[in-house]
């Protein structure tokens, strides 16, 4: 994969060989090493960030790796780049490389214990990094939580649009069902609300954390029931028809909530308890990724792919196509509902106008940007789209030209998305690297 320097003009050749050298140099760093580097960088920002930013002429640590700062005030561009280099890139590169031997040995030890322990340690590092990063301002915290929720929604839609090969448009509807069910549950039971009156169960706030999963699961179940309503009539057909039926379903849900005065109608429902904190959202997102990843790698997941590639052939191969599709669709709707419940509790306000065509376009963009039929793709798509749309916000209307152009470019050069049709193999990710790779 290295570039031969001889054949290319000198400058490009030198660059190329530098890149390949760097790549070779870092190929021996395991995921554990990178995560350690990130954790160190984030901790560094925690301790030194403010001082470095001040020294560079910025009033505060730039959020989103300096993008927003640059766009708002181009004069600060060198400072923002320097900041990112000093706080993030250099420490990560240094720590990842210098501890490579140690982290490789550690990764091997952890893996020999059990892959569960190893995964838990990796997740712990990721959580630690996210926690420290988002600790610096509430804005980062909100961003991280909404991005994690976006990952859940994207992944659950990918299940239908990617793994099952149908085109479903009802995900905002499922989210709305989940959001409203979970909100009504928590607001009626635990909040002194103007609409529903005093809480039915006055629990100490600490206990609320333990009841919250019930609300979310309830939201997911209601969303799945809604999915059943779509699935029964529409799974007799394929392709465009499901798209139309599911789109209609989305509008039905929106109108239903708009006309339900008891949950606030178009004015929305507010006052959800503040339970969707970072650990809660993180745990649910991890659970969602883990369960969906296992689902698509199971027999049922493979059957789902078979249905996509040839329903008749799959049927002939004794796959119960109807049941497979039904299970996958309801399963996807369940996670969209859970994500909706979390979404409502992060914003602590929910209105039917949120779950409209714009939301649908956003979710579809994340799925197709990241890549069909791929768990990693969904994560990349959701994170990429969220960060990009947040980073470009200072550009205002131009943002809405850049993002569609990017999507078009992705569609031209990678028609199925950035990381499509690839398995998300946790074992492969967390194994030690560097030694001659034995497979």
């Amino acid at each position: 994969m290295g570039v031969e320097s001889g054949a290319i003009p000198v400058k490009a050749g030198r660059m190329g060989s530098l890149v390949s050298k760097a790549r070779a140099w870092y190929s021996g760093v395991p995921l554990l090493g990178w995560l350690l580097g990130v954790l160190v960088a984030v901790a560094l920002e925690h301790i030194l960030g403010r001082r470095v930013a001040r020294a560079l002429g910025m009033s505060k640590e730039p959020v989103l790796f300096g993008f927003v700062t640059m766009l708002r005030d181009p004069a600060l561009l060198p400072s923002a780049v320097l900041y990112v280099l000093l706080i993030y890139l250099l420490p990560i590169a240094a720590v990842a490389r210098l501890t490579a031997q140690l982290t490789n040995r550690l990764a091997a030890t952890l893996l020999s214990l059990s892959s569960g322990v190893s995964s838990a340690v990796h997740l712990g590092l990721i959580y630690g990094a996210l926690h420290l990063w988002s600790d610096l301002s509430d804005y980062r915290l909100l961003l991280v939580r909404l991005t994690l929720i976006a990952i859940m929604v994207t992944l659950s839609l990918n299940l239908v649009n990617g793994y099952m090969g149908e085109f479903s448009c009802s995900h905002p509807g499922f989210m709305a069902l989940g959001a409203y069910t979970a909100s009504v549950f928590t607001v009626i039971l635990f909040v002194d609300d103007r609409v529903f009156g005093a809480p039915l169960l006055a629990l100490p706030p600490l206990l609320g954390q333990f009841v919250f999963p019930i609300a979310l699961i309830l939201g997911g179940v209601v969303a799945a029931l809604g999915a059943l309503l779509v699935a029964v009539p529409s799974f007799r057909t394929r392709g465009d028809y499901l798209a139309i039926v599911s789109l209609a379903f989305m509008f039905i849900v929106k109108s239903l909530i708009e006309n339900l005065e008891i949950v606030g109608g178009p004015r929305g429902l507010q006052g959800q308890p503040d339970w969707a904190n970072l650990p809660t959202v993180f745990l649910w997102a991890v659970a969602c990724i883990w369960i969906i990843n296992n689902f698509v790698r199971s027999t049922l997941g493979k059957a789902l792919n078979a249905v996509r590639d040839g329903e008749m052939a799959a049927n002939a191969m004794t796959v119960d196509t109807r049941r497979t599709k039904m299970v996958a669709f309801l399963f996807a709707a369940f996670w969209a509902g859970v994500a909706g419940g979390l979404f409502a509790h992060v914003l602590r306000y929910v209105n039917p106008g949120t779950f409209d065509l714009k939301k649908l376009a956003e979710v579809l963009a994340m799925v197709y940007l990241g890549g069909l039929n791929s768990v990693m793709g969904s994560i990349v798509g959701a994170v990429g789209f969220n960060l990009l749309s947040e980073a470009l916000r200072p550009l205002q209307i131009i943002k809405w030209m850049i993002i569609p152009v990017l999507l078009i470019l992705v569609m031209i050069f990678r028609p199925t998305g950035l990381i499509a049709f690839r398995e998300f193999d946790v074992q492969e990710l967390i194994r030690p690297k560097g030694e001659p790779q034995q497979h």
Partner: protein
């Protein structure tokens, strides 16, 4: 070789850092004011009006050499965030303004669907917020940190009902509204309640609704015409107003149609044309025939941006002046954000008889102003003429 390169690079970076460091941070001489406005999305005109009015205010402050608080001049920086006309983006924008940009006070969001959740964020973070345009009671309800500078729907409904009764002497009204949009729906209900208070149950002969995006209102209008109503009240936005009025006239309706402050956009007359001439609506201020400070603002806005400002622009202008008065009323800016925010909030709550271009304002306990509404007539020249004012 690569090691040498790396060292050179790092050395270069450090030198750069020290040079840049000499520029120094913004310091406590600057007062930051956040603007949370819908610059893109469904209602970009509203965002534009907000931005222009705020920038005009800033230009005034800069011309005066800064904002004088307690004998010291401070620079003012406006941090304008786009909320894309979405609830979640408004929440993000407000959170960013409060915790990242560390603004002293936030102006906006404008629409209630963004102002309600953003108000929650401001209240939780103990940062004062003033929404110029949000008329939903929930925006400020039980939120000591949130204020607004417009009247509320529960006030505007009775104003329209009283005006129709006094002006025309009618006793049967029809209402046509968008059931999916919170503002028209709320106002339609408040109007209905006020009308039935005046004329008894059943006096609202037709209460017809449609959904956002509908363009054909003939069936609802036919129902209204057949119901024997003498007037139509339709609290809709400019694009629907034009369609409703034109279609009503095509169907043979020749009685008055009355609207609300959402009519107050320059686009209304442009889209509706002669069909709208002679109609009345209630709003925050009247552009045509204005005098004094109001006229000065309108003329200046028109000279700078090429069109007569609608109510959002005027309300934002008033809001900026209220914010200015609150900051000045605070006496000093200590640089400690928590203390300053508390001080500005208290100063806001204390404001009495503020003389704005959209009327005199005094805040109630809830942070809502007590102010007069204006009835505007669309003249034969397509201008919004002052007709009369209605005070609480």
């Amino acid at each position: 070789m690569s090691k040498k390169h790396t060292f050179r690079l790092v050395a270069l970076l450090l030198v750069g850092a020290t040079i840049l460091g000499a520029c120094g941070p913004a310091g406590p001489d600057t007062i930051k004011i956040g603007i949370n406005a819908p610059l893109t999305g469904d209602i970009p005109k509203v965002g534009e009006g907000t931005k222009f009015a705020a920038e005009m205010w800033l230009a005034d402050i800069e011309a005066a050499g800064g904002l004088e608080v307690g004998g010291k001049k401070y620079n003012v920086e406006l941090v304008i965030e786009d909320n894309e006309s979405k609830a979640e983006s408004a929440t993000k924008a407000s959170t960013k303004l409060i915790t990242q940009d560390e603004v002293l006070i936030i102006v906006g969001p404008q629409s209630s669907k963004q102002a309600v959740p953003a108000g929650g964020v401001a209240n939780d973070n103990e940062t004062p917020m003033v929404s110029p345009w949000s008329t939903n009671p929930n925006t400020t309800l039980d939120r000591p940190w949130v204020f607004r500078s417009c009247f509320l729907d529960p006030f505007q409904g009775p104003v329209a009902a009283n005006f129709i009764t006094e002006e025309f002497g009618f006793s049967k009204a029809a209402v046509l509204y968008d059931v999916a949009s919170d503002y028209p729906k709320g106002l339609a209900e408040f109007f209905k309640a006020a009308w039935e208070d005046l004329h008894g149950a059943g006096s609202v002969a037709a209460f017809e609704s449609f959904t956002t995006g509908d363009a054909d209102f003939s069936s609802q209008l036919t129902n209204i015409i057949n119901s024997g109503a003498e007037v139509i009240f339709t609290p809709q936005y400019y694009n629907e107003v034009a369609l409703i009025v034109q279609q009503a006239h095509e169907l043979g309706w020749d009685k008055p149609i009355v609207g609300s402050d959402s009519w107050g956009s320059a686009e209304t007359v442009e889209l509706c044309g002669a069909d709208c001439y002679g109609l009345f609506f209630s709003t925050h201020y009247a552009a045509a025939g204005a005098t004094g400070a109001t006229k000065a603002f309108i003329d200046r806005y028109e000279a700078e941006h090429g069109y007569v400002p609608d109510d959002v622009g005027a309300l934002t202008w008033d809001t900026m002046l209220i914010v200015q008065e609150a900051i000045q009323g605070c006496g000093e800016v200590s640089g400690e954000l928590e203390k300053d925010r508390q001080c500005v909030r208290d100063a806001l709550a204390r404001i009495k008889d503020f003389d704005g271009i959209t009327g005199k304002m005094t805040f109630t306990e809830e942070g809502d102003p007590i102010k007069c509404a204006v009835i505007v007539r669309i003249s034969e020249a397509g201008e919004f003429e002052f007709y009369k004012s209605a005070c609480p």
